[in-house]
Symmetry: C2
Subunit: 91 residues, 2 copies
């Protein structure tokens, strides 16, 4: 985390602003945040009374589940999946 952050962008999740930093382009970080915002709003709308913390946790688990599935697919193409490391992280 916070290794060589190059870009910084302000995003809005569930009405709150966050400054995020990372090696991805500002546009990519904005897209990622918009995706999370959309997922959280959808999940929150479907479960009345659920805490925003639980919404965020369940959103993260959904994303991790999809990510691990896609990583398994990419393992079939080792040359491509090595194009960039898995360790780059936004903060």
């Amino acid at each position: 985390v916070e290794e060589k952050p190059k870009n910084r962008v302000t995003v809005t999740i569930m009405g709150e602003d966050y400054i995020i930093k990372g090696p991805s382009s500002p546009r990519a970080m904005e897209q990622a945040a918009a995706h999370v915002d959309q997922m959280m709003r959808t999940l929150a709308a479907g479960k009345s009374g659920i805490s925003r913390y639980k919404v965020a946790v369940l959103t993260a688990i959904n994303l991790a589940d999809e990510l691990l599935r896609l990583k398994q697919q990419l393992r079939r193409y080792p040359d491509e999946s090595r194009e960039r490391g898995d360790e780059d992280e936004l903060v």
Copy 2:
């Protein structure tokens, strides 16, 4: 969300249990949850005083960023990426 949930498993994130349901195998859901738990712990350890909600939100954004990158890679292999839809979600 909650479309045809087939499997159900209890996972622990930051010391709290969650029952999650979804089309993924119990093992896949456990792996996804373990990945989120690990990411949240790492992020929380690096930022004293950060709220658990913000930790969860930043974790979700990190995962979404990586997911969108991998999806771009998979677009190069349209036959493979069509193997399963993108809409399956855990709850």
